[in-house]
Every structure is written in C-alpha cells, then in structure tokens.
C-alpha cells in the first residue's frame, strides 16, 4: 500500500494554545495511499494535529513536510499547498451563499483557473459519486447534514488533492446519516486516496484504516494497525479509552 517516500511527515511538532501544550513532540509519517485514523479522548490534540497539516493551525516548533516540501509560510505558496490537500470539517463549512454546484466548482475555477464547463462536468461526476447529483442547484441549508457533508467531500475532491484530511466528519451528524458519509470515505480509501481521519467511528477505523494513531494529552501514544490496536492496546491510556467506548 505504501510506496516511495511518505507524503506527510511531522517531525517533533510542538504547539501551545497559551499555556496549554496541545501537541507535545508529535512525530508521524503518512505514506502515499495510506489511511491513518486518529482517535483519542476529546482535548487530546487530534483535531489540532489534523489542522496543522495544511497549516490552518501554525505550529510553534518542529517541521511538517508535505510531498517532500516543508510547509511554506502564509502566502501564495501556502495557498498552492492547501489546494493540494483536501479538508473536510466537522461542521461541513459549505459556502452558505452558493449552490452546491458553485461550492464544488469555486476552487477549480478560481484557484486552478479551469474553464467553468470543465469544472462543472467534473463536479457533476463527483456529486454523482457521493450520491447527490440531483441536489446540485440547491443551497447548503436545503440539504440534510449527511448530504452537506458529502457535498463538502465532493468540494474537496474537485481540487484533485494528493491527500484528504477529515476532522471529525461525522460528529455533527444524526446517527442515521453517519453511514452514508462513512460509505463515501470507505470507497475513497479503497481507491487509494491518502487520508488522515480524526474520528470516533471505531467501525471505520477497524475496516478502513491501515494504521490507528491514539493520542492523549497532546502526545502520540500509540501507532499500530487497527487489528493489533483494538485487540492489544499497549498503553494504559488506550486500554482505558477503549474500555470506555467499547463497552456500550
């Protein structure tokens, strides 16, 4: 599954929010085509970790390398890098004043300077892939949460990214809509997309991840294949965490 040099490398990353040490000496590498699921109790720094990869959160020390290049500072170069990393948010963040079609084509047209017709064609194909092609002309508020999140995934895919970051993509969804979003993510994973997924969906972690990262208190505590992690967690923190979420 992993080929060549890793796509995403974090080396000794530290980040503070004021006095709070949210990322404590975190090192991690994600290979091309690899699916890494990040789990951990809330406040453990997993969302922050995800957001540092496209520099939505700047870090205090350490280095982050994407596709062989260190993350650039704010500016054109960073914008270009972000265009190559898709991001899906917990709260969808679809542009509220634009239709689904406009949401999906904005990046390709304005960032990549694609012809609108070309962008629309690919957008329709992507919306079809996530199962909401018939919603293309609606506004985000007219869609269900699950549909909005699938539209957000299509919007990120429209940039033809090298990797996708998912920051708790199903946490804001009603239970019956979680499945439809996870289905889309599972199919992406099967197609070889490089993915970093912060989630509480242990089922997804079990069947779609290549590796599970367990974080607690800003530290990366465990890094193991899912079967191994769920069967034999090594750290007390992970055992404790799993016992709390898997008993119900």
């Amino acid at each position: 599954m992993t080929t060549g040099e890793p796509l995403i490398v974090l080396d000794a990353v530290d980040k503070w929010f004021g006095p709070l040490h949210v990322l404590d000496d975190v090192s991690l590498s994600v290979g091309r085509g690899e699916v890494v699921v990040v789990i951990g109790p809330s406040g453990s720094g997993k969302s922050t970790l995800c957001r540092t990869i496209n520099r939505l959160e700047p870090i205090n020390s350490g280095t982050i390398t994407f596709d062989g290049q260190p993350l650039p500072a704010e500016g054109k170069a960073l914008a270009k890098l972000r265009s190559e990393v898709g991001m899906v948010f917990q709260s969808f963040n679809l542009f509220a004043h634009k239709t689904i079609m406009e949401n999906v084509t904005l990046g390709p047209i304005k960032v990549r300077r694609e012809k609108p017709a070309v962008a629309r064609e690919r957008a329709l194909a992507l919306l079809d892939r996530v199962g909401i092609a018939n919603q293309a002309d609606k506004f985000p508020a007219q869609l269900s949460g699950g549909q909005q999140q699938r539209a957000a995934i299509a919007r990120a895919l429209a940039m033809q990214p090298k990797a996708m970051l998912f920051d708790e993509p199903t946490s804001a969804l009603d239970p019956e809509m979680v499945g439809e979003v996870l289905d889309v993510m599972t199919s992406l994973a099967r197609d070889g997309m490089t993915m970093v997924v912060v989630t509480h969906e242990m089922g997804f972690a079990r069947h779609a991840a290549n590796r599970v990262i367990f974080m607690a208190d800003g530290q990366l505590v465990e890094d193991a294949p899912p079967a191994e992690f769920f069967a034999n967690p090594r750290s007390e923190r992970a055992k404790d965490f799993l016992s709390k979420i898997l008993t119900h």
């Binding site: 496209n54 939505l56 704010e74 054109k76 914008a79 270009k80 890098l81 972000r82 265009s83 190559e84 990393v85 898709g86 991001m87 948010f89 709260s91 969808f92 963040n93 679809l94 542009f95 509220a96 004043h97 904005l106 990046g107 304005k110 960032v111 957000a152 919007r155 990120a156 940039m159």
Partner: protein
Amino acid sequence: MSVLIDRFDVFAGGFWLTLQICVLAALGALILGAVVAVLRISPVPPLRAVGTGYVNVFRNMPLTVVMFFAAFGLPALGSNADFLRIPGLDVVFSRLGTDLPYFRFALIALVLYTAAFVCEALRSGVNAVPPGQAEAARSLGLTFGQNLRYVVLPQSWKASIVPLGSVIIAMIKNSALVGFFGVVGDLSQTADQLTSAEGYAFVPVAIGISIGYLIMTVPLGAFLDRIEKRQAVAR
C-alpha cells in the same frame, strides 16, 4: 414661523449644500473605510497595525479637533486640498472647485473621521460570518483576496448594512459642524445667517433646520429598518 416660508430659499440652499457634503463624505468614507477594514483583517501584521492605528486615532478623537487639524493644519502645510478639485465632479458639487478651500477641508475631516467608524461596521459584518467559511476557503487554496471577494464579503454585507447606516446617519448630523470651520451656507450655518445677521427669532429657524436634517436622516433610518426586517424573515 413665517421665516420658514419667507426665507424658504435660504433653507433650501442650506439643505442642498449639506446634502452635497454628506453625499461626498459618505462616498469618501465608504471607500476609505473599506480600505482600512481590509488592512485591519489582513494576514500581514504591519498592515493590520496601520489599520488599527488609523481606527484608534480617528475613532477616539473629537470630530471638532479633526476639523481644526484640517482647517488649520492643511494650510500650515501649504495645501489647499486642490486634489479634490475633481473635474466632472465639481460640476455637480460646485464647492469642490471654489478658490476658498474650506468646503474641501471640512470634507476631508468628515471623511477621515467617519472612515474609522465605517471600517468598524464593515469589520463587524466580516466577524459575523462564521469562521468556518473563511477556513474552508483557505483550505481550498483561495488567497486572502479571493477569500474576501468570493466567500466572506458576499456574506458579510448583510450584517454590515444596518451598522453602516447608523454610521452614515451620525455623519449627516456631524456635518452640522462644518459651518463653524469656514463653510458658508450649509444647513446649520443658515441658522447663524438668519438669526445673527437678519434678526429672525431662533426657535422657528431651528425648527426649519431640524426639518432639513430629518428629511435626510428619517428616510435612511426607515430604509434600514426595512432591510433589517427582511433579514429577520430570511433567517
């Protein structure tokens, strides 16, 4: 009260001059305020500092003092504010082109002062847009300018328009100061003209002037109320 009818032409002339200065000052303040607002929300720290410094200076200084600086400071610097003699514009707004510079000085003071408030009204609109919108735009690779233009500003104007209107209403009332800084013949200065020079009783004159200001401000306020109601429904 006969002064209202007998000297209607004086009131009308004052109204017209005040309207002129308000239209010009509103335009100038909206443009300058938008520039300062962009500076204040820019990701570049020195630009942010310039924007913040501007707002701190002009929002916190009395307009009278700004007027003093314009009316006495600019001449001291050897400027007659001739750059405001804009060809074309001075056909409609004839005072822009006169040799006496006080209309231009007062206009500059009013624009500088009001722009600070315009900036804050625009910024409050930008802040009303959920941060996730700008974050999603950034994560797609949109630059700061594209982010503002395609994502943030189209959503922020709705939240800006009511506070902006209040700023403009305040500006119209503030324009009453210009008569004390050499501008002859605006709505408030006509009071001085009619009472001191021509001996009319003050109260009827003051009523006439008030009506003049209300004609400008009340419709603007009503317009803002309508916009606010429409927004409430849309939500």
